[in-house]
Chain length 423, copies 2
Amino acid sequence: MNSSRIDPLGVSGKSCSTGSSSGAGSFIGDPTQMDRWLLGQLTSGLDDSKVRMVLWDEPVRANRNMLPVTVCIGDRGGLFQMLRDPALYFGDLYSSGRITLDGDLLVLLDEAYRFLDKLPKTSRWLERTRVRKPGLSDSRNNIHHHYDLGNDFYKIWLDREAMQYTCAYYAQSSMTLEQAQQAKMHHVCRKLQLEAGDRVIEAGGGWGGFALFMAQNYGVHVRSFNISKEQITFSREQAQARDLGHLVEFIEDDYRNISGRCDVFVSIGMLEHVGTPNYRQLGELIARVLTPEGRGLVHTIGRDRPMPLNAWIARRIFPGAYPPTLREMMDIFEPNSLSVLDVENLRPHYALTLKHWLERFEQHADVVRAMFDESFVRAWRLYLAGSIIGFLHGDLQLFQVLFARTGANGIPWTRDHTYPPRD
Amino acid sequence: MNSSRIDPLGVSGKSCSTGSSSGAGSFIGDPTQMDRWLLGQLTSGLDDSKVRMVLWDEPVRANRNMLPVTVCIGDRGGLFQMLRDPALYFGDLYSSGRITLDGDLLVLLDEAYRFLDKLPKTSRWLERTRVRKPGLSDSRNNIHHHYDLGNDFYKIWLDREAMQYTCAYYAQSSMTLEQAQQAKMHHVCRKLQLEAGDRVIEAGGGWGGFALFMAQNYGVHVRSFNISKEQITFSREQAQARDLGHLVEFIEDDYRNISGRCDVFVSIGMLEHVGTPNYRQLGELIARVLTPEGRGLVHTIGRDRPMPLNAWIARRIFPGAYPPTLREMMDIFEPNSLSVLDVENLRPHYALTLKHWLERFEQHADVVRAMFDESFVRAWRLYLAGSIIGFLHGDLQLFQVLFARTGANGIPWTRDHTYPPRD
């Protein structure tokens, strides 16, 4: 078997020793009795018909045909870190190649989730990440960290038509990523009952794909706010290229500085970065800008119960991010006389969206490696794969919340308009 | 003009003096300067182009053609009570005829709501009613008070086919009450994807209409729990008459005693009587009885922001009732690994349902009067009319919350199945 075939999942060859001297008190030598005892502690509770963990002296490939996945911890420092806080350190150890796999990363993550589900809900190390209230400059730094990695990087694996870095809507499960992102945008526009001439404010516009889509397909005027400089630049170029500059204005500013009036307020995939302490203020802002019969929609990753973001994701991928529960989201609506009309949970759609993203990412891993390095490729692979499993297990949810002002009576009778007659 | 034409709205004739001696320190005599000053305090803020309030010496009919509604306070005790706590005492004063109207009760209530909307949200007298945790015997007393008024009474004005005393679903706004109640039941069954053979548990089954509907139309097995003796007796008779006894079991017991397993848990219009302190326990119960891939739906009157029930309604009509906010409802789901899939707010549908109920009630007011008395007729008229206005103003909401277990992956891809192809 060609070893390059399994490279995407990070197998290392004959033994997985890294020879690394990093990690507290580590030195390379054969594992001791103590190391093996610690490994036993680490793996107790894992389903040993699916996952096997080995130490650095063990030939990884020997087990290839017997188990879905073998995990090799490459040095003693890595073993100690895994014992101390697997949710935090596994990501770094895997990214740097100090943990290698033979087999399917998704199977490993699936098993890890099953394992975590069995732990008491308030397990100590799940609680490490504390949410604090992001100020304006925190937000800029956090957003820059993730969204300014380069438009070229995201172009590689997002849908080609609208660069939607948010959950798609698979109206039919056989849809391509491009079709499902178009379907998502139509779904949101139908929920909001966009009509030509409506004034729309978008908070957190990504690469401008949705703002341009709304203008092009529904003839609305959009003011789209975003604090990612690279995204704004790209969005403006797109508006010019598609001759939509008269309908869409891209504003490089924080959502907190939104002013004016609008018939429709929409925010797709921004709330994750707002921070619960700011929700009430966001709701005040919406209540200030929305016309009396205005409609709004917030689309966000969420949770069924409150839980901090995985510590490694919070540190390396999404600093400052937090997926809220519906209860937490009510801080936007309840104090501000906004009435929730409709909530749709699209959880399985995000698992499939991520699967499509990961496939494209792997197809172009060489390009990504050339743009960044191997550890970046491994980190993003882990993030995408982990998110798939997170949505499949229900650790993550995807909420679309439609709302209007309390007592506004221009709201639609039914949701029929969201489900146009089918062929 | 024939005075009987306006009798349903309670006009009294030439002067509205009641001659009543009830109320603290009241005696009948012409209103004093102080009485008129107090009336001024009471009416300041009311839109005087719509509502006029007068005292017991004033000829009511003089204003008939000038204003939509004239309110006459019939004695000094009533005036004092209105000043002290209008939300509590108006209902009793109106019911007993110590307050009479010339004009449209709905206009008066609409104006009263507008007036209340302008008050600070924590206005003192809105907060009178405190929620406490209802125990088993409280629940029995509360339910008996309202639902055991006699099946014959409810038959007069509820839909004839299924006696649904909950919000209907006007798939088309031109539907009759009967059509809309059938549509509501189909809507819920579609959301729950009922399949023949499913085991359904219903908590709070009313007169059994929905349990029998599910069995008849979807071939499911239903165990329906209810603590209203009269309703259970009626339900069992219906099951026998329709030859559905082999599919539906009506159990006279509290929801807290539900046991066994079910594929589907459904509760329509019971949560209003459960009390927020019991929500977590209700969720535990659901999580205990539901199969791993089971589905559930809770349908309840709700609020956009927490607020006690109107004091008069709480005292005279619905003791122990409380319409929760979505945030409060999350106590059912969040601690019990239940995942909210879909929330639909049917607020305008309840206003229309109530309008249909009130129309039928007025058509048969004589029958109701013969069953009870005039003050009962007036109390229920006020309750139904007040509820219409409550829903129109957004003081009341109607939430249908669909849920499954966190991470259950048998949930449907989309909501298409709820919206079958239309003609």
